[in-house]
C-alpha cells in the first residue's frame, strides 16, 4: 500500500497523468463540440486510428513531421466527413454509421499497415518520426511544478491550448452560439435563417480535426509507432467525458484528467504487479456514477410534444 501511495504522490505520477490524459483531452473536446451541435457521433475511435496511422505513414515516407501531421489530419477528418455525409445528408442512423466506421478503422488500418510495411502488428519497420518533447523556459526551473508541467510532448501543450480555444469557440463566437442552438433546438435555429445541416457539418469537422490531433499524438508522441487497435477505447472515453462534463468545456476537461489519472494509476499498478484490470475499470465506473447523477434529473414523465398541423 505504501508503495502505491508513494508512487501516487510523486511528481512522476502527475507528469504521467498529463502524458496519458493528452489523447483523452483531445478526443473529449472533439466529442464536446459535436455534442453541442446535437450530433451523436461514436466514430472517434475510427478517426483516431486512421489519423494515427496516417501520421506514421506520412512522416515515414516524407521524413517530415509536418507532412505526417497533415496526412494524419486528412485521414482522420475524412472519417468524420464520411460520418457527416451519411448522417446529415443521407439521414442514416448515427450509431450504425459510427459503429461501421470504427470497425473500418480497426480493420482498415491493419490492412493498410500490412500493405505498406508487411507487418500486421505494428509499424516499427517504418522509419516514422516523432514529435519532440520540449522544456518550458522559466517553468522548468520551478521545483515540483516544473517537473510536472515541463518536458512534455508539444502536442500535450497543444491539447491544453485547445481547451482554451474550444472554450472560446463555444462560448464567445457566433459560430459557437449557432452550434449550440442547432444542437438544442434546430427549429428555432432554422426559423432565424441558420443553416442547420451546414452548422452540424462544421461542428463534426472541427470535432474530426481535434480528435485527429489525439490520434497523431498516439503514434508520434505517446508511442513512436503505430500498433493495431492502439486507441483501446479512448474514443469512447472521450464521449463519456463530454457527457460527464455536461457539454461544458471546463468540466469536460476535468473529466478527461480524471480518466487520465485512473489510467496512469492502472499503469503504476501494472508495474507493481497488482491487478491493473481493476483500475482499468475505474474510468468507466466513474462515468456510470456520473451519468446516473446527470440522468436522475431528467426523469420526468412528460407528454410527447405534438406539432399540430391543421
Amino acid at each position: 500500500m505504501e508503495i502505491i501511495l508513494d508512487s501516487i504522490f510523486s511528481t512522476e505520477f502527475f507528469f504521467s497523468v498529463l502524458r496519458v490524459a493528452t489523447p483523452l483531452i483531445f478526443v473529449s473536446l472533439a466529442a464536446l463540440v459535436v455534442k453541442n451541435g446535437g450530433v451523436m457521433c461514436i466514430a472517434f475511435e475510427g478517426m483516431m486510428l486512421f489519423s494515427a496511422l496516417g501520421a506514421v505513414i506520412g512522416s515515414a515516407f516524407s521524413q517530415s513531421r509536418l507532412v505526417g501531421i497533415l496526412v494524419g489530419l486528412l485521414l482522420g477528418m475524412s472519417i468524420s466527413a464520411i460520418f457527416a455525409y451519411f448522417v446529415l445528408v443521407l439521414n442514416s442512423n448515427g450509431v450504425l454509421t459510427g459503429l461501421a466506421l470504427n470497425i473500418l478503422g480497426s480493420g482498415g488500418t491493419v490492412f493498410m499497415l500490412y500493405l505498406i510495411s508487411g507487418d500486421k502488428g505494428s509499424s516499427t519497420a517504418l522509419k516514422s518520426l516523432i514529435i519532440p518533447n520540449v522544456d518550458i523556459p522559466i517553468i522548468k526551473d520551478i521545483p515540483v511544478i516544473g517537473e510536472i508541467l515541463s518536458g512534455h510532448n508539444i502536442l500535450t501543450y497543444v491539447a491544453l491550448i485547445t481547451v482554451v480555444v474550444v472554450y472560446i469557440l463555444i462560448n464567445k463566437t457566433p459560430l459557437g452560439l449557432r452550434i449550440r442552438s442547432v444542437g438544442e433546438n434546430p427549429h428555432a435555429a432554422e426559423s432565424v435563417g441558420i443553416k442547420v445541416i451546414k452548422t452540424k457539418f462544421i461542428a463534426l469537422m472541427i470535432g474530426g480535426f481535434i480528435a485527429s490531433l489525439g490520434g497523431i499524438y498516439m503514434s508520434m508522441g505517446y508511442l513512436p509507432f503505430f500498433t493495431r487497435d492502439m486507441m483501446a477505447g479512448r474514443g469512447f472515453m472521450g464521449i463519456a467525458a463530454s457527457n460527464l462534463g455536461g457539454g461544458l468545456t471546463i468540466p469536460t476537461f476535468a473529466a478527461a484528467l480524471l480518466f487520465g489519472s485512473a489510467e496512469a494509476l492502472s499503469n503504476i499498478m501494472q508495474s507493481l504487479r497488482l491487478p491493473s484490470e481493476f483500475m482499468q475499470m475505474v474510468p468507466y465506473i466513474v462515468t456510470l456514477i456520473g451519468l446516473m447523477l446527470v440522468g436522475g434529473n431528467n426523469k420526468k414523465l412528460t407528454f410527447k410534444k405534438e406539432e399540430k398541423n391543421e
Binding site: 452560439l177 449557432r178 438544442e184 428555432a188 399540430k308 391543421e310
Partner: protein
Amino acid sequence: MNKVIDNTEYILRMENITKIYGNGFMANKNVNLRVKKGEIHALIGENGAGKSTLMKVLFGQEQPEEGKIFYKGEEIKITNPLVALAHGIGMVHQHFMLVPSLTVAENMVLGIEPKNKGFFNYQEAVRLTEEVSKKYNLPIDPRAKVKDLPVGYKQRVEILKILLRGVEVLILDEPTAVLTPQETEELFVQLRELKKQGYTIIFISHKLNEIKALCDNLTVLRNGRVTGTAKVADLTEQDISRLMVGRDVMLTIDKEEAKPKKTVLKVRNLTYKNSDNKAIVNNVSFSIREGEILGIAGVEGNGQREISSLITGLIENQSGEIKLFDEDITNISIRKIREKGVAHISEDRMTYGTVADASVEENIISDRYYKDDYNKYGLLDKKKIAELSNELIKEYRVKCDSKDAEIRTLSGGNIQKVVAAREFTSNPKLIIANQPTRGIDVGASEFIRKKLVSLRDEGAAILLISADLTEVITVSDSLLVMSEGKIVAYFEDTKNLTEETVGEYMLGIKKQTAEEIGGVCYE
C-alpha cells in the same frame, strides 16, 4: 373596379388562397384575408378550420396551390420564412422557437449576431435587447436564461425577437393558449401598445371574449373557407359563434333512449397541473353510469386529453379521485386498469393506439397476448390467435391484405377499426373514446359511432370526447362542456340541444351555475 381604392388601405391582402396538402386534404379554399395597417385583425375558427395553414402560407412555411399575396400594394412571393421576415412579416409560433439554455439576449440575436473582431459581442446583444425592450415597453432581463422564464416571458422574447428583426406585421398563433388569465391580460396591454405604435397584428384565436376585447376586425374560417369578415364591434359573440360552428350537414344516428343503471365511473375534484404549474384540468367531477354515453365537448386543449389520460393511467394523478365501481384506480398500473374493464381509444392512434410496424393481428392481441386463453405450453397459441383476428377483421370490416399486413399499410379509418376491434372486444365496462373518428372517412366514422351505441345498449359506460360538435351531440346521451380545464355546462339530455347552444358554452360566452353542473355527479 372601384375596389382598387379600398385596397390601398390594406397593408396585406391574401387573395383566393387555395392550399391542398399532399394527402388531398383541402385546408384552404379560395380564402381572402385583408388586413389594414395598424389594426389587430382576428383570424378565428375551430380546430382544423385552416387558420394555421393560412398563416403558414403567409409566413412561407407552406406554398399555396393558388392565390396571390399583396403586401403594401405589391404582389410578393413568400418562399420561406426568411423572405417573410425580410418583407416585415413575423410570426410567433404556438411552440416557441427558442433555445432554452441560451440567455434572452443570445436568443434575440441568433442568426444576426453582433460581432467584435470576429468574436460574438455579448454586451452588444444585451444592449440591443434592452433597447428594443425599452422602445416597446416590454421589460425583460436580457441575461436571464430562457429556460428559467415563465411562459408569458418566453412569449415576450419571441415578440421582441421579431420586432428586433424589423417586422411590421406580427402573426400570433393562439398566443393565449399557453397563458394564465393574468398573463393574457398583460399580453393584451402589450399588443395594444404595439398597435398604438403603428404595428399590424394578426391574432389567431377561438376565444370569443378575447377577440371582443382586443380586435378591430375579424375573418372567420370554417372548413377551409371564409364564412365571414366584419368589424368586431358589429357582431355579438353569438353571431361569431354561429359563423364558426354552424354546420351544413346534419348527422343522424339510430338509437333508443338510454337506460342508465348503476354508476361505473366516479371522478371527483380531479386536478392536473402541467410543468408550468398551470391547471390543465381544474377541479373536475362527474359520473358515468352503465348504459349511458357521456360526451365531453370543447375546443381541443381544454383538458380533455388529460382527463382521458388520467382515467386510463397514462399520466400520474396528482389530486382528486377516480373510482371504478367504488374502487380507487388512481396510480395503479395501466394493465391493472385495463383488466378491471377500462378500454381506451386514444386520440393519437399512431402513438398510443397501434404499433405501426406490427401486423393487424399483433395489434389486435396486444392487450391480451399474455392471457391463458392465447397461450399453450408457454408459447403463443397461434391457431387461436389467428381465429380471433380473422373473426374480428371480418366483424369490424377492416380492409387489409391479411391479418399479417402491417398496420402502416392501412388507411386511417381501417387503423382506427383495428383499435376499435381490440378495445371493444376486451369486455369493457368503461370505454374512454377520445376523438374516435378524427381524420377518418365517413363510413368508418359511422361504423364506430354505431358500435359505441350498441356497446352502450349492452351495458357499457362510455365517455366520448370529441371536438366534432355534431358527433358529440348526436352520439352522446348527456353532455358536458369543457372550457379552460373546467366543466362549464352539463346537459342531461342531448335530444333538443343545438350546436349553437353548446358553442356558446364552449367558447366561454355562457356558463352554468355550480348546481346545474353538479347534476352530472351520481353516487
